[in-house]
C-alpha cells in the first residue's frame, strides 16, 4: 500500500532526517517516533505530497488522508457547519442523508453538546476531536496522522484507538507520529525511529 525507499528531505541544504525506508501493507500500523524536531511532521508531509522529496522514492497508489497539526476548523462556523463543509468538499462514504450522517458523527466523536457552538469557543481537545471527525466519513485507505493523541483526554484516546483499529480491520493502513509519551496500545505495529539529520552532519 505504501512503499518508501531511501527517502530524505533537505531544508537549507541540510538533511532534516536520516534516510528512511519502509514498506506498509494492508491492515498495518506504522508508528514514527523520535525526539522533537527530528522531522516527523516533515516525513508525514512528504508522504502526503505537500513536500517534494530531495532524494528517494515514495510509492503510494492512492491519495492518502493527512490530518496534521492544524485542525482545519473555521472559528466562525459551528461544529456542525464545519463538518458538513468537509463532508461536501472532501467527499467520502455517504450512506444516509448528509445531515443525519453529520449528526451521527458528532455524537460519535463526543461533541453533541457543542454541535451548534462556534469553532472559536472549543477547547484544544474538542478542536482535535472535531478535526478527527474526518476519519469517520473519509474513504481513503491510507491515513497519515500527525500526533493524533495531542490534547485528547483519556476517553478521546480510547475513541481514537477504536477508530484506528476499525480502519485496520477493514484493510486500511495508518502511519502515525508520536514523540513518545502517548502510544497506541494493543496494536500489532511496526515502528520507525527517526533520527535528525543535523546531528550527523555536525
Amino acid at each position: 500500500m505504501l512503499s518508501v525507499s531511501e527517502l530524505s528531505f533537505e531544508r537549507y541544504f541540510e538533511p532534516v532526517f536520516e534516510p528512511v525506508s519502509f514498506e506498509l501493507g494492508t491492515g498495518s500500523l506504522l508508528l514514527v517516533t523520535g525526539a522533537n524536531g527530528c522531522g516527523k511532521t516533515t516525513l508525514l508531509r512528504l508522504l502526503a505530497g505537500l513536500l517534494e522529496p530531495s532524494e528517494g522514492e515514495i510509492k503510494c497508489p492512492n491519495r492518502p488522508l493527512y490530518a496534521g497539526h492544524n485542525p482545519a476548523i473555521k472559528d466562525d462556523l459551528s461544529v456542525e457547519e464545519n463538518i458538513r463543509f468537509l463532508m461536501r468538499f472532501m467527499g467520502g462514504r455517504c450512506a444516509k442523508s448528509e445531515l443525519e450522517q453529520c449528526q451521527e458523527i458528532i455524537k460519535e466523536i463526543g461533541l453533541a453538546p457543542v454541535a451548534q457552538q462556534e469553532g472559536r469557543t472549543l477547547s484544544a481537545g474538542q478542536r482535535k476531536r472535531c478535526s478527527l471527525s474526518r476519519l469517520l466519513f473519509c474513504d481513503e485507505a491510507l491515513w497519515l496522522l500527525d500526533e493524533p493523541y495531542s490534547n485528547l483526554d483519556r476517553e478521546g484516546i480510547a475513541m481514537l484507538d477504536e477508530i484506528v483499529r476499525g480502519h485496520l480491520d477493514d484493510g486500511g493502513s495508518c502511519v502515525m507520529t508520536t514523540h513518545g509519551s502517548l502510544r497506541p496500545e494493543g496494536f500489532d505495529l511496526q515502528e520507525c525511529f527517526l533520527l535528525s539529520g543535523r546531528e550527523q552532519t555536525a
Partner: protein
C-alpha cells in the same frame, strides 16, 4: 474513492465563503467605509469647486476602489492558510485552480460588487457629470473582477508571510496601473462626449485574460506558499 464532483466542491466552497462573510460582516464593511471616507476627503482637501471635482472624479473614485480592494485582499487566503484548511484543499485532489477561482468569485461578490453599487453615490459626491456615470459603472463592472483576479495572485504569494499586507500592495499596484489608466480615460472621454468603447473593450479583454490565467497563477502561488 468517491470524490465529489467539481461542481459540488465548488458550490460547497462558495456556500462556506458566503456564510463566513456573513459571520464576519464587520470585517467586510471596513473596506467599503474606507472607500466612502477616502472619496469624502477629496472635496475637503482640494477645495469644493464643482468644476475641479468633476475633473478629478474618475481618478479619485477609481483610486479609492483600488485601495479598498487591496485592503480586503490580504484576508483572501490567510485564514485558510493559518488554520490548515488550505492544506486540506490542496490534498483533496480537486484542481487547485478551481478552488482559487471559487475564492476569487466569493471575494468579488462581497468586495467588488458593493463598490459598483456605491459608485452612483460616489459620482454624485464628486459632481461627476451625468454623461460619465453609466461609463463609470460599466468600467467598474468589468474592472473590479480584474482587481480581484490579479489581487488573488498577490494574496497567494504573500500568504505565508507574517505581515504580507504591505508587500502585497507593492506587488499588485503596478499591475493595476494599466487598468486605472484605461478606466479613468474611458470615463473622462464619456464626459467630454468622445467615444470610449475602445478603452472599455481593452478592459474587457484584460478581464477575460485575467479570468483565464489568474486562477492557474494563483494555484501555483498557493502551492509555492505551502511548501
Amino acid at each position: 474513492m468517491s470524490q465529489p464532483a467539481l461542481s459540488t466542491a465548488f458550490l460547497a466552497l462558495l456556500r462556506r465563503d458566503f456564510l463566513l462573510a456573513y459571520r464576519r460582516r464587520a470585517e467586510l464593511l471596513q473596506p467599503l467605509v474606507f472607500l466612502l471616507v477616502v472619496v469624502t476627503l477629496f472635496p475637503l482637501g482640494v477645495g469644493p469647486s464643482p468644476q475641479l471635482l468633476a475633473k478629478i472624479a474618475p481618478g479619485v473614485i477609481w483610486i479609492a476602489a483600488l485601495l479598498a480592494t487591496v485592503l480586503s485582499l490580504d484576508s483572501l487566503f490567510r485564514s485558510d492558510y493559518e488554520d490548515g484548511t488550505l492544506e486540506q484543499m490542496v490534498l483533496s485532489g480537486q484542481p487547485l485552480a478551481l478552488i482559487a477561482l471559487a475564492r476569487i468569485v466569493a471575494h468579488w461578490l462581497v468586495a467588488g460588487l458593493p463598490i459598483i453599487l456605491l459608485s452612483p453615490l460616489l459620482a454624485l459626491w464628486m459632481n461627476l457629470p451625468d454623461a460619465g456615470v453609466p461609463v463609470l459603472i460599466k468600467s467598474l463592472a468589468i474592472g473590479t473582477p480584474v482587481l480581484s483576479l490579479i489581487g488573488a495572485i498577490g494574496g497567494a504569494l504573500t500568504v505565508s508571510l507574517k505581515r504580507g499586507g504591505q508587500l502585497l500592495s507593492l506587488l499588485v499596484f503596478p499591475l493595476y496601473v494599466p487598468l486605472l489608466i484605461l478606466a479613468t480615460s474611458a470615463v473622462s472621454a464619456a464626459v467630454s462626449g468622445l467615444p470610449y468603447n475602445g478603452q472599455l473593450g481593452l478592459i474587457l479583454a484584460g478581464m477575460i485574460a485575467a479570468l483565464t490565467l489568474a486562477p492557474f497563477a494563483t494555484a501555483a502561488a498557493l502551492k509555492l506558499s505551502l511548501s
